[in-house]
């Protein structure tokens, strides 16, 4: 397969088609319109279904309908639109239906703006909609990773019968990079639970209504067992220059990309910095971070928000090490120099303490 020069948004769409996504439903919202536009062209030409829905709410419910029949279905939006989809995501979790939802985040709350941000971390990792559920969340940090993880997300969704969220941002969506796409999928997994009319068998139904409280509780614990499996098998992270690090940065997505630049910069001055980059935000790589705490006493959390993933880092470290937070919310994209300054400062503080 040839390398192509492509934007993150187009990579989401192309990779989904290659993963066997045959149904896409979406509503325009900046900065992710290129996903729907790509689908309107390429997915339809490939014989799939593209509908520009009347709302994000309708789009996620069309996803529910398509997923019920066993189709690989996807929707995408940006922050305000994802809020509208939360009702449907809760139903997907309750029904135990696979689907992929892309959030190309922008500044908020409210309409906010159309600049890249990471303010939807809580919404993505804490369920987002009503009820007791979790959603696996992937946070790609390059167009290549967008392609690889979107492809993988459909497998995870099918394997565990769960909605999966891709959490990206306006810059990752708009930025063009070279990408090698995975091959188009051959055989899709069998879905004996899908509804396709009863045929000669017994009738079945898809329902999230469970009026019997004991039965509802059993369903809740069943979901928890599934989530434990996901935590055990699907947690992903990347360690970057951590071997000898005195200071470890924790950052995801675009912020991790910028942090890499900062780490390269401070390393030139002999500052031993490294990074743990969560690739799955839920399940969060708690163990990798807490294991690091036995050796590293200073962690730095970078986010394009006022501090959301920070709380997961605090939970993972459980007071074992110091955490410094540096956040730029509102759509401001920090620079490697800015991050490097924070790392230098923490390094100096540590040196003072040692003296």
């Amino acid at each position: 397969m040839n390398k192509v020069f492509i934007s993150g948004n187009h990579a989401f769409a192309e990779s989904a088609i290659r993963a066997g996504c045959t149904c896409y439903f979406g509503y325009p919202i900046t900065p992710q319109n290129e996903i729907g536009e790509y689908m309107a062209d390429h997915l339809r030409r490939a014989g799939g279904v593209f509908i520009q829905s009347e709302s994000e709410t309708a789009a996620i419910n069309m996803v529910i309908g398509a997923a019920c029949t066993g189709a690989r279905a996807m929707t995408s939006s940006s922050s305000p639109g994802i809020s509208l989809k939360q009702e449907g995501i809760s139903f997907l979790a309750g029904f135990e239906l696979p689907a992929v939802i892309i959030n190309v985040m922008r500044g908020g709350p409210g309409l906010g703006n159309i600049a890249p941000a990471q303010g939807d971390y809580f919404q993505a990792t804490r369920g987002g909609g009503h009820g007791d559920y979790r959603t696996p969340v992937f946070a790609p940090a390059s167009a290549q990773e967008i392609a690889d993880l979107t492809y993988h997300a459909f497998d995870v969704a099918d394997r565990y019968r769960t909605p999966v969220m891709m959490l990206s941002d306006g810059m990752m969506g708009q930025m063009k990079e070279p990408v090698v796409f995975p091959e188009k999928i051959g055989k899709l997994p069998e879905k004996d639970w899908a509804l396709r009319g009863r045929g000669d068998g017994p009738s079945r139904y898809m329902a999230s209504l469970v009026l019997d409280v004991m039965e509802m509780e059993r369903h809740n614990w069943k979901l928890v067992r599934k989530y434990s499996e996901i935590e055990k098998n699907e947690t992903r992270h990347e360690e970057y220059m951590c071997e000898d690090a005195d200071i470890v940065v924790i950052a995801y997505g675009l912020t991790a990309r910028i942090a890499k630049g900062a780490i390269k910069r401070v390393r030139k001055d002999g500052v031993r910095a490294g990074m743990i980059r969560p690739i799955t935000l839920w399940p969060f790589p708690k163990k990798a971070i807490s294991d690091m705490a036995s050796r590293v006493k200073q962690f730095v959390v970078f986010e394009m928000s006022t501090g959301q993933m920070l709380e997961d880092v605090q939970i993972a470290l459980a007071g074992k090490s110091d955490i410094t937070f540096h956040g730029r919310p509102g759509g401001v994209v920090p620079t490697p120099i800015e991050f490097a300054r924070v790392i230098y400062r923490e390094n100096q503080k540590m040196a003072k303490i040692e003296r």
């Binding site: 309708a58 309908g65 398509a66 029949t69 396709r196 009863r198």
Partner: protein, 250 residues
């Protein structure tokens, strides 16, 4: 003479209904089950049922059913039908579901001319939640949230959503019927059969509005509530074919 009472194949046996005495849902459920059998559609049928009294329709329907969030039925049905055009897809929705919280989904699925069927039960109140004002509540009608009666200056007017969508080019067949007696029940079955056939023929969107009694929330006896449908409700919502574009589509 022995009365023939054949139990419909697609209606579950040995179940106790949760619907109130005199409720219209049971009648329409049976009509649907009978038609799926007579038209040989039950094996490939998928019904999308609403949030509301009919949320439990799968307890009775012996064909595949998908529950929907409140109002989202036609969006889910769109996803089902578009991904599997070979399936026979219909929604079964109440007036709150279809013409209040689901208005956008109703209007736009109709405007896209989705090849699916909508069965719209209009009983002029929110049944399951205890009889609150619905968009279809008649003027001066008392509900738990219009204790003095629906005042148009305060609560607006009864919404005729089937008349609205009947005007869309994509809506091929729309009819309003009433299950207010043997005649009305026969007409209802005929109307739903026409709507089902519209989908089978691949012509596009069909919607049947069924005026249906809700004795519990109307605070009337079952007999009086049937009379009320005939004498009062049909004055606001006159039964009849609202659009029939089948010949133009063929």
């Amino acid at each position: 003479m022995k009365l023939k009472n054949k139990w419909p194949v697609y209606y579950k046996k040995d179940v106790v209904t949760h619907y109130c005495p005199g409720c219209g849902h049971g009648i329409v459920h049976r009509i649907v089950a009978e038609l799926l059998e007579e038209m040989d559609l039950g094996k490939r049928a998928i019904c999308v049922n609403p949030a509301g009294c009919a949320v439990l329709a799968y307890l009775y329907f012996d064909f595949d059913v998908i529950e929907s969030a409140h109002g989202r039925g036609t969006a889910i049905a769109t996803g089902v039908k578009r991904s599997r055009p070979d399936l026979f897809v219909f929604t079964y929705q109440g007036d709150g579901d279809l013409s209040a919280i689901g208005t956008a989904e109703t209007i736009h699925s109709a405007n896209r001319g989705e090849n699916l069927t909508v069965i719209f039960i209009n009983n002029a109140v929110y049944g399951m939640t205890g009889g609150q004002l619905a968009p279809t509540t008649l003027l001066n009608m008392k509900t738990t949230t219009t204790p003095l009666g629906r005042d148009p200056k305060y609560d607006g007017y009864p919404l005729h959503i089937t008349d609205v969508v009947a005007q869309f080019p994509g809506v091929v067949y729309a009819e309003r019927v009433a299950v207010d007696g043997p005649g009305g029940i026969r007409k209802t079955k005929k109307a739903i059969a026409a709507a089902f056939q519209t989908q089978v023929d691949g012509l596009g969107y069909s919607i049947i509005e069924v005026l249906s009694p809700c004795p519990t929330n109307w605070k009337l006896s079952p007999v009086d509530s049937f009379k009320w449908v005939t004498e009062v409700m049909t004055k606001e919502f006159p039964p009849g074919v609202l659009t029939d574009k089948r010949s133009k589509k063929e």
